[in-house]
Symmetry: D2
Subunit: 294 residues, 4 copies
């Protein structure tokens, strides 16, 4: 088995689990490629020089023949791993080095069992849609114009509210007067969109959610649309500079640029343990089981 | 052309438009069957005895060969028309005798143009999913166990909160501790579910929304699921009597009864004028265009 | 020291703590009056016959000379204790026999220290406003027309939405079209009102909150008013029977009855340990410190 | 009578009303001081050179002996007028040149009657609290550290969420993990705070509202506190640059600066017509009377 390891950094409390992972890799003759900045971190901060086969610096030199990409970190790290895997179809394994994540849902104490399951082929592969951003000219995000969670437009720092004219398949939907607007995938429904009052979408729904941020009009509500619709946004405001974000990457643009959001033509593949379920993660992360108010 | 007319009552201000409709029917040799209680209302309250071909009292004696069922009233009347048309596949025409509705979206002043469009075949037919309720024993709602908008469970009058154990395709989702729970279709997303904070779903989304009513746990949120999922509910509470509703019809049940909600095996067909659009109705009804706060 | 004990029932897991409390009472020569149904419960279910000085059945025969009323249970039990103490000015001590409450905030494992503090006079007394309901004729709730948490009007079981015309100091505020309306005190702001989207009010704010339940109009919002305002409600609806509730007690009324809510002319006194704070309870009960979403 | 006129600009549709106002001023021998940039606007854009007695450029050279400051514009202009009037105690008259405002609530077609009422002394003066910001060092907003509506902290453009440690009278309340936090006055409760889910506070409530912006923790809620409490904020985040705003003025600060918000030691005085009421404005602006959803 060949794998690529991706990560940024982790807390000392994860070190033992991390080393144990390498013990297991050795026992099962797993060939490991590692993300170079992560390798540097391990040597410098953890004082651990793991046995690896190769290095990669990004999407271009990632060996596309690996069986899995292991993302070590949290959901934020997982989102970065997505920008490296892209449309290669390599399943991503989300190992959580800290607090439980929706994507990085293999906890520290589950690692031994998880590895055993992976070596035995005892898992499922879940496919997740991304959204793709197309812009009318000098494309924003030339490196990678996709997001697993959400696309966001937002007013800049000191500016006043912006108007976001929104079209679905070129039919006019609404002009949001707000601080910003979030277009989220079902995967993103438990992230930023949830913080502004958006609904939760279970992973296999074929939808986008359009959620305004601090909308001025009190009757606008999050709206769920089919993901085979193209969403077009034209932004207007006093200051002609706006913020666009794909997951955690962002840039500015002006009103001459029209933004189009649609379903990506590829999917991200995520390894899921058979003992895990989305509903269980949901209940756990949102503490539905715990009710202390009475 | 043959049509069936359905209605309950209307305000005097609608009388002229209603008579004008019959003038047009006469000109175009439309044969009209009428809902008997509505006919009685017209004679008694409006002093108008329209020329009709036949009468019907309900679903059983409705002539299934009519080309359209005209629902005269509001969205509430439209929901009743659905309980009469059922799976007959007859397109329903929603004529609004009062305030604009989402389903009853042909306004009084649009009637002449609408009739002209209908006579010329200048319209589209939109199909809407219903939800179906199945119960474990002595079926609730034996007459018609379907809803166009929503299914609701609710605590009874003086009772305290209830616990609603919820399963998706037999997998445990959550136990809601709340006053009640709404399972809505996309059509129902702009009705009761919207009042408790649910999102708007555009008509062609293939989903149900599960929205709690006054939930005690502050982290539960409306959740959107695919409509090919079956939703199972088991209700628990101090008083063992709960309220179940399908659209505007309701009955009581106890905790021995398990409730299953799924997509109906037929659809309701709705006539839509080509000049109308869901987004336009949405903006109009929710007053998105009007913003008086600044 | 003389105290009156109030309670309904508790789980077995609380028995030892309860007995220990009586040991402490004995050591400090505390004279205990007990609520008769609670005494019956103790003998019948717990097989414990505590040494007591007297019995009482309700407000009328409660000895008003006791130094404290100990409420054993949760916040619901505390609300019942309020209906017995009324305007007697006796401080209530909220001992929690189960999950932590906002009012019943002395946890099982804190009892020894709490009793020691109480015997030493090491506590503060917090005063809480109640609201008072006045009705235009044949007064509702003749027994005790006050609430510590909230007054609620609600549609009855199978009825459709109701219209609640609302006036502040006889000036027209709004006509809510909704399932119901909650008028809450600051104390009630963390109870039912919070479940329908109302804000939290810290205990010493001099306000009422008016929160609609499932309002049809999407622009209505919870509104906070000074508690020296009188709030008048007139209810209208198709079925002429509505539900009124003061805390957990409820009754029906019709549209001929006008409801007036104002600040009570007395306060409830609550014993608070110096180690406790409202903000701490808030963080603990609402789990603000725990964040599992990332 | 002496008045000072304040404004920025207005639409052509307001020109006639504006000139008419000067006719009335002339008839009643009103001496008018005018804000110089506004005077320039009138000459340049409206081609109208109003007869005035004097000019002023800001707070320093405003004649404090005027009877009223007339603010011509919307609520935004009114907020600017506040920064000029400050603690001078001069009543502000809010003339609305466009859409109705909460503060600028005298509509174009009411101007003749309003002026007549003002000349006859037929009005009331309403006092509104401001909030004051104090900072631990090199004070932010050295010019004028007060706000009529709200104080806001917010993450900067491309930064991730921030943590806002919040204390009430030096007692720890909560650490908000969010995009930002709003501290609003009752006046500000219908502005930005309302857009993020805060409650409405009627003007004479003695409170502040603390409302988080896009909070990550789903159980945090807007909280209403007495305005005699001091609110202290300490902000933390990955990027050490944060945004602070007082009404529409903003600046950046870093985590070494502690922010303290308290009730101002002076009030703004607002002229209110006797025919106007806060509740009427509220119903009108939030369209409570209009309900198109059924």
């Amino acid at each position: 088995m060949k794998i690529a390891l991706f990560g940024r950094l982790f807390n000392e409390s994860f070190t033992d689990s991390f080393k144990l992972m390498f013990d297991e890799f050795a026992k099962h003759n797993v060939e490991v490629d590692i993300y170079e900045p992560f390798y540097d971190f391990l040597i410098r901060e953890i004082n651990f020089k793991p046995p690896v086969n190769g290095y990669y610096k990004g999407c271009d030199d990632l060996n596309k023949d690996v069986d899995f990409v292991f993302s070590i970190g949290g959901d934020g790290t997982f989102l970065e791993a997505v920008t490296i895997v892209r449309d290669a179809g390599i399943p991503i394994v989300g190992i959580n080095s800290g607090r439980l994540g929706f994507m990085a849902d293999i906890a520290q104490d589950e690692i031994p069992q998880a590895l055993s399951d992976i070596f035995e082929g005892n898992y499922t592969i879940e496919e997740r849609n991304l959204l793709q951003l197309e812009t009318s000219k000098n494309g924003l995000f030339p490196e990678f114009n996709y997001a697993l969670n959400e696309f966001t437009v937002h007013k800049t720092d000191t500016a006043s509210m912006i108007t976001i004219h929104t079209y679905l398949n070129n039919e006019y939907l609404n002009s949001y007067w707000a601080d910003g607007l979030i277009i989220a995938t079902p995967t993103g429904s438990t992230a930023y969109s949830l913080s502004v009052g958006g609904p939760i979408l279970v992973p296999n729904t074929q939808n986008f959610i359009i959620s305004p941020i601090s909308p001025h009009n009190l009757t606008v509500r999050p709206i769920v649309v089919p993901n085979y619709h193209e969403i077009t946004l034209k932004v207007e405001g006093r200051s002609d500079s706006y913020l666009a974000s794909l997951d955690s990457r962002s840039c500015t643009f002006d009103s001459s640029i029209e933004l189009k959001i649609k379903k990506s033509d590829f999917k991200i593949r995520v390894l899921k343990l058979k003992t895990h379920s989305f509903y269980g993660t949901l209940r756990n992360k949102l503490m539905w089981g715990v009710d202390k108010r009475n």
